[in-house]
Structures are given as C-alpha cells and as structure tokens.
Symmetry: C2
Subunit: 287 residues, 2 copies
Amino acid sequence: MRDFVSDHRWLSLNTATVRKQGDLAAIIDACARHGIRAIDPWREQVAAMGLDRAARAMRDAGLDLSGYCRGGLFASDVARRGEVRDDNRRCIDEAKALGAPCIVLVAGGLPQYSRPGSAVSKDVAAARAQVDEGIAEMLDYARQANMPLAIEPLHPAYAADRACVNTTSQALDICDRLDPQRTGALGVALDVYHIWWDPQLMSQIDRAGKDRLLAFHVCDWLMPTRDILNDRGMMGDGVIDIKRLRAAVEAVGFAGYCEIEIFSNDWWAKPMDEVLRTCIERHKTVV
Amino acid sequence: MRDFVSDHRWLSLNTATVRKQGDLAAIIDACARHGIRAIDPWREQVAAMGLDRAARAMRDAGLDLSGYCRGGLFASDVARRGEVRDDNRRCIDEAKALGAPCIVLVAGGLPQYSRPGSAVSKDVAAARAQVDEGIAEMLDYARQANMPLAIEPLHPAYAADRACVNTTSQALDICDRLDPQRTGALGVALDVYHIWWDPQLMSQIDRAGKDRLLAFHVCDWLMPTRDILNDRGMMGDGVIDIKRLRAAVEAVGFAGYCEIEIFSNDWWAKPMDEVLRTCIERHKTVV
C-alpha cells in the first residue's frame, strides 16, 4: 500500500468538491497554492471557462487529470437517442482536448430523471438495457479517440434518478459484455461512497483487476446522512473504512490518483483554502 | 397473479404505518372498521398494551398476523452478546404467544448503531460475521419454538445504522448456510422499498422460492426522498413497479399477505382512517 502520510502527490481534487466557492480558474489557482497536482473537472465548469482556455490553464499549471466528469445519462425517450449520442461524443472530444485519462460515466436512472422531459417510466430493467446500448455506442467512438470510459456504479439510493448501475458487479458485467478482451477501453470508477456497503465488494475488486480499475474516489458516509445527494462527508468523518478499500484496490495493482469528490452543503459553505487544507490532512491520515 | 382488485383480503397492515395516530388497541379497532384481516405488530406496541391483552384483542377481533416486528440487531460488543440473545429469545416467546407466522429480523448495522453504547467500529465485515453467528444462535431457539425467522434485507442506505444485510442474495446466502435443508425455519422478508433497485432481484426471487419467501412488504420509493428513514411513499406515489415485483414473488408460489409498511412523516400526520382508506384503494389499484 502506498505511503500517503509523507506527502499528497496522489491526491486529485474532483472539482465538484469546491464548485460553490469558485470557478475552474480559481480552483486551478488554489491547487497550485496547495501543491495539488491533479484534478477531475466537470463539463459545465470547463464550458463556463471555455475548453481551450481551460486546457491551457491546466497545462500551464502543470496539472494532471484523473478523469473527466461526466458522460452518460443514457436512459431517454427513443426519439432523443441522437441527442444523447451527440452529447457523449462531445464529451469525448472535450476529454481528449483536455488530456483526460478517462471519462467517468454516470449511467442515468429512469428516463424522466436521466433526460428530463422523457416519458415517465418505472421500468428499471428497460433503463438498464438502454444503458448497455448507450455505452456500446459510445464505446465505438471512444475507441477511435483512444479515450477509456469508466462506468461509475452509484449507490442504490440513486437508482431512480442518477444511475441504474448500482453495484461493482453490475458495472463489471457490462465491461465483460462490451470489452471481453479487457483492452483497457472500458472499466470502472469506484467511489467508496457508492460501494462501501456491498457484501460482494472485495471479490468484485479482485475481478476488476488493474486493467478495469480506471479511477478511485473517496469521501465518507455520514451518520446521519441528512441529504441523500449533498451531505457526503469529509474522509474520516463517517463510517467508511477508507484505508481498507484503498488497500484492496492497490492490492490488485491500482496505482493512480486517489480522487476526492465531496458533494456537501456543509463543505461548500467553507472557504476553498480551508476545504483543501482539510482534504490534504485527511488524505494523509485516513485515506 | 392473485386478483387484488375485487377486495383486500390479502392486505395486511404493518402497525408502524399508523403508529403515531394511535396505540395497538386503536389500530386493531381501525382494522375491524376497514375490514383489514391481518396485521404485523411491533414489539413496543405489544409491550405497551401488554402481551396477554394484545394477544386476546387480536384473537377477539379475528385478526391474522403476517409477521412480528422485529428481532435481530445482532451486532454488539462481545460483552453484550447475552443481552442480545435473551432479547431475541423473548421476541420468539412473544411471537409464539401472539400466533405470529414468523419474526422479521432486522440484522443491525455497525455495533454502535445496532446496540447503542457498543464500541465504535467501521468494520462492516465483522458486523456481518456477528449477524451470522447471532442468527445461528437464535435459530436454535426458534426451531424449538417452531417459529420461522425471516431475514429482511434492508436498502444499502441503512447498512451502517440498521442492517448490514443489504441484498436478497446476501440474505439467501445466510439461509443456505444455516438451513441448507430448506426446512422452513429460516427465510426472507422482502420489502419492495429495500430491494427494487437490485439488478439481481428477479434471479434471487427465483432462488428463494416459495419455501424461503416468508413475507412480502410494500410501500414506494419517492422522488425525491427527503428523509432517508421516514419519507417512504404510499404505493403508487413513487417509482417502484410494485405489480411486477408481486408478480415475481407469486410466480414462485408466494401466497401470503401483502403487508403495507410505510414509515412516513407525511402519512403519520394524517388521520388513521384516511391512511387505511388510501392503503386499501392503492392495494386494489397499484399493488
């Protein structure tokens, strides 16, 4: 297991963690101040800055990327499939321009939440079939661009509205169907928040292996959780044994960034420098 | 699939659904008024009324039971194992006195939440091992009393505080380990709220089969869910395809009560008769 105590060279900041405190330019500056050498930016932040300007700013700051957030949201009315496909192709083009190592895919839940305006459905199995088809289609384009796709299983609490891919096993089943040769074009992004509860987790991390483990995200599950989306915890403040999970992914060869992604009304209300100082301290002590 | 349109003979009321509106005596009276012929009472409601008086009142009202809530909460400090064991034995004695067909087991989460005062732990695997041992021990006593135990997998959102048994597959694995002969002494209680999201659900219902399916509970998953414990929905108000899940359990032979269990600050604020009228109407139309 890598030493995280001495420095924070393997810390990456998912920019959603401080998205209320400043724009992407401000976040890039803050990373320089705190010696953070990688980020995972969100599309809307990049769009607000302008793709070329964002790419140049990251390059000038010497920032690595640990991913690009996010593609997906595949479930939709059939009539809107073209829109979904084009949106995801643009995402790949942007990720390429930014030099991202992979795109994080959030599958989408039921169509009315995944792509608002779509017809109301309670058929989660149908949504899952659409996700399969959507990833297959996106993968063709992604392979041409040499841009890996990382399916992120989300906690079952988000099955309806955000992602109907809810376990590591389910995500790996998709990988096996669409990339049986394990070419590296398709894998998973594992966030401890979404997966810590899973009784099959350790065996599925083994199953994923180094070549399917494209990203590893950390935060914490607070007790109580007051808001199902925006009350995620700073590492160490909740119930997740984060070190044990990091040990598990590193045991199968994961050697990438440990990306901090915290959606939290509490942390969004604090100054950016305080949040980053706390992230670095916790990265060294509890991650 | 049974006809639920014509009458509500297969409706059972989990008494937590109206626990804020009245005590057990008032609930029993209300069931008589509404032609509800089965309930699943909670231990604290029975204790408040007195076990003998509660048993007599249910008998006098001609009420069937669809279960008894609840045993379990197995994770605890080692020093408290005796307390847990004795508590669960008393639960079996009560269920027997009431004529319940099974006890619903909520496994308990991490020990500090399962049995408050226990040492703080983040080891969910250890909690699961304790649950296995606890059920094994309880099962010996339950077999002697001829009282089936129904393990209820709870939604992964409750893994820390309420139950570290979070999927049907996991619950059935426990059944297979502790009752490989499928004697009927151990099975599962499936609540649509906890299991609807599970990509393995249909295959696990098949795996359970009639002899492991001891109870079936309904409510709905609301969008948005504003409170992770007490914002469950009335059937039809959320995103769960309840009819499809009932069809699945009935396809493998489940022929018992369809038990309505709704933890909801909203529904607790309405008059008991209004809640029961709505339950009956939704039972006929969307369950």
